[in-house]
Amino acid sequence: MTRPARTSRRLAAGAALSALFVAFLAACGGSSNSSNPAASTSTGVNGGTATIDMASAPDSLDPQYGYTVEAGEADWITYTPLLTYAHASGVAGTQVIPGLATALPVVSNGGKTYTLTLRSGLKFSDGTPVTASDFTYAVERMLKLNWGGDSFFTQTIVGASAYLAGTATSISGITTNDSTGKITIRLTAPYGAFDNLLAFPSVAPVPAGTPFTNEPTNPPSGVGAYIIKDVIPNQSFELVRNPLFASFHIPGIPTGHLSTIKVNIITNTTTEAEQVLDNQVDNFDAGDTVPAALLSQIKSQAADRFSLQPVETTYYFFLNQSKAPFNNKLAREAVNIAVNREAFQRLAGGTINPGCYLLAAGLVGHPTKPCPWGTLDSADLSKAKSLIQQAHLVGAPVTVYGEQVSPVEQWVEYYAGVLKDIGFDVTIKFVDGSTYFPTVGSQTADPQTGYSAWAEDFPNPVDFYLLVNANSIQPVGNRNRSYVNDPHIQSELSKLDVVPTSQLQSVASQWSALDYYVASQADELVFGYGTAPEFFSDRIDYSTAVFSPIWFNDWSTWELSK
């Protein structure tokens, strides 16, 4: 996914509204308290209520529409897909495990056919039995609701794009048998990360007959530890335990301890942080950013219940190679040398970690070699200047695009200052949060350079390499904003794309060689990786709470302190 985090569109809005809302975009993933046991199932204190403050409302709690990190947090424990992620912190949490399916899919036909079987005896929270065709129904509904990541499915499943376009009334690539629970999915081409796609709550079964419209205030029934209820848009919603779920005995998926989880939407992150610090509220939502002004106070007063978890989000500036000046490699090198990546960290109040590789730290394939452009806390302005002179680009006009939200605004202003220092004639163009990515992703704007961020959709480098994959260049919604079209990258990707997620480790060295190559080509100006706050009141047992690298806080593992 392209947006820093399935971070809500509203988040950006809130932040621009008041600078008080230093909401900024954080993302998914990350390693965590490795001491956490995986998925502690129904031991410990049961019952009780916890409250969460969230600075931005989920875009929708409807699983087939919700795409932001806030939606994912609630949906993944309410709508269990056929496959899901292990309820564990750190790398263990990136493992795909069977959810409503009895086992991981059987892959045949050279990687183009996936076969799964639905567990028997499953019921939706409203009591309706779950059938295999409910999966198909969910996929169709997801497509018709235009879920934010629908292109993953239209590009992989046979007949999905025809269904979306309305030229087919069903998806020809999915066949189900309700009596045996067998589900067969045919792909257009082998795709190694398909297991990950089946783990999105957006394809979790919902009862057939659920309307084909986004239901933000009345989300459908699901199969999960919790049930979402009492949704008041932009104000609050609640999760209550699903009494049926424990009887399904799905291994590795917690059935929940708290009886109620109450979520309040409160747009002011300063207030949000104060309330958690004072133990008035139990959790600071992981999708929000702790205000810089309170960070040191929280670090000292709440050291035992606060940490910044690294997450797999890459922050970078794209350098459009299809036009001057960044079609010149010297210009791309110069900007990579001229920025001090630690400056970006400071501008974000310490909430990002500096880095120069496209693959975020913690991902398989993240290179361990030092950056090709010098250390992360230094800059070489004079060398950069001489490169620009050498390329005869002094005075070349450059327009920098930026999203009008903190700290992106600060980053862009710093970056523009650096470009000016090394000899470019710089103009800044700020675009409001909700239109920023549609604007820079469109050919009509065709920006030279600008801010961008990528939060993982799933823990596979393939997801990040959409950014430099020539095949993802498109006139609107373009993710390859640098217009990278490099035969070496393409040939490597054609080999790596088909490697199943479960065998990623075997190609780690190829990925890291490729990622080092991309960095040394200066295809992008990567400056850092995101973090997300894990911040509780002292009412919650910090030691058993899981921080999922994919979905952040795992509410189903929370229990009250004894």
């Binding site: 205000p291 810089a292 960070l295 400056a343 109040g349 310490g350 605004e409 202003e413 163009k429 409001d432």
Partner: protein
């Protein structure tokens, strides 16, 4: 006191959040333009020490802002948009980070450089304060000019021609007037900031300060046009207008030569009000992200970007906020003095 009774609604100032200002009523009957009237007013104003003092304060602020390049170049020796995120400075013999690793900028040093401290990007707050003042004041003056030109023209035309033109103009003014001011500002500001504005051959970039200036000027037009219209309605029945007409003067000539001079004191009274209102409205729009676009500084954007750090670096809000209040207060108090001097009986509505 004479009450202009033609249009009750006109006498009603209104809020809508930002900064309406309405002329309540001005007694036009005795206002005869000429040296005598203004000399009398000047004499009255000279006696009003409070007004003069605050007027002086405002002038000082204007001069300081005009001298921004001098301060930046010769005293602070740092430009308004120069970032210094990873640098250090010496304060009283200690070396400190301009911006701490947690992102907290250094506070006031009370030295030439970083006198009022730094902002999140390590830029000199004092330098930006002066440059930002240029932007805010420029917007204030430009907006006032736009409001006065269009407001007076609309008021003149509506009051003089009456009839259909008056009805159309009155509806147009009603539309602007009934539109919630902040919403109007933010809606237009947001859309123009993205695309800029193209009027024929004229292209205004999205980040130009002409956009907020134009916007703010536009919002205030009804507040000037309505009372002007009322005055013109009364003036056009006067003998000297009849006389001019009798001499064969054309309508435009009568409006410009005969009626406009009689409106001068109203206009003079309105200018400071609009300037003050415009500076405040700019701050509100910037707070909502629709005002001056970064990296241009204005007092509004400085306050807006400083708010998240209010607890650790209150100077980021208090310095531009204080300057803004002082400047607006200066204009307001001086404006009230001018009003009293020109026409002790008039009342004018000041906006928020």
């Amino acid at each position: 006191m004479a009450i202009n009774q033609s249009q009750p609604a006109e006498r009603l100032p209104r809020a809508g959040g930002v900064g309406p200002l309405l002329l309540d009523d001005i007694v036009v009957d005795d206002v005869v333009p000429g040296i005598g009237h203004y000399r009398l007013a000047a004499r009255r104003l000279r006696r009003d020490r409070t007004a003069l003092l605050f007027g002086l304060l405002f002038i000082l602020i204007v001069v300081a802002c005009l001298l921004a390049p001098v301060y930046s170049h010769d005293i602070a020796r740092i430009g308004p948009n120069v970032n210094n995120v990873t640098g250090t400075i010496k304060v009283d013999g200690h070396t400190v980070d301009v911006v701490s690793p947690d992102g907290i900028p250094v506070g006031p040093t009370w030295h030439a450089r970083y006198f009022f401290g730094a902002d999140t990007n390590g830029r000199d707050v004092a330098v930006r304060l002066l440059y930002g003042g240029r932007t805010s004041l420029a917007i204030g003056f430009m907006a006032a000019a736009i409001t006065m030109i269009f407001g007076v023209a609309a008021g003149l035309a509506a009051g003089f021609y009456r009839g259909a033109l008056d009805a159309v103009l009155a509806r147009l003014l009603d539309i602007i007037w009934a539109y919630p001011a902040v919403l109007l500002g933010v809606a237009i500001g947001t859309s123009l900031a993205l695309g800029g504005l193209k009027i024929g051959p004229l292209t205004i970039e999205g980040n130009s300060i002409f956009i907020p200036a134009f916007l703010i000027g536009f919002v205030y037009i009804p507040y000037v046009a309505k009372p002007i219209r009322g005055q013109v309605l009364a003036l056009r029945e006067k003998e000297f207008v009849d006389a001019a007409r009798g001499l064969g003067c054309g309508s435009v000539r009568i409006m410009v030569r005969e009626i406009l001079p009689n409106l001068s004191s109203t206009i003079v009274v309105f200018v400071p009000l609009i300037v003050a209102g415009a500076i405040l409205l700019e701050a509100s729009l910037s707070f909502l992200g629709a005002g001056v676009q970064p990296p241009n500084a204005s007092w509004g954007t400085m306050i807006q970007s400083g708010l998240p750090l209010l607890t650790t670096s209150p100077q980021l809000v208090l310095v531009p906020g204080g300057m803004l209040v002082l400047a607006v207060l200066g204009v307001n108090v001086f404006g009230e003095g001018v009003r009293d001097a020109l026409d002790p009986k008039s009342q004018i509505r000041l906006g928020r």
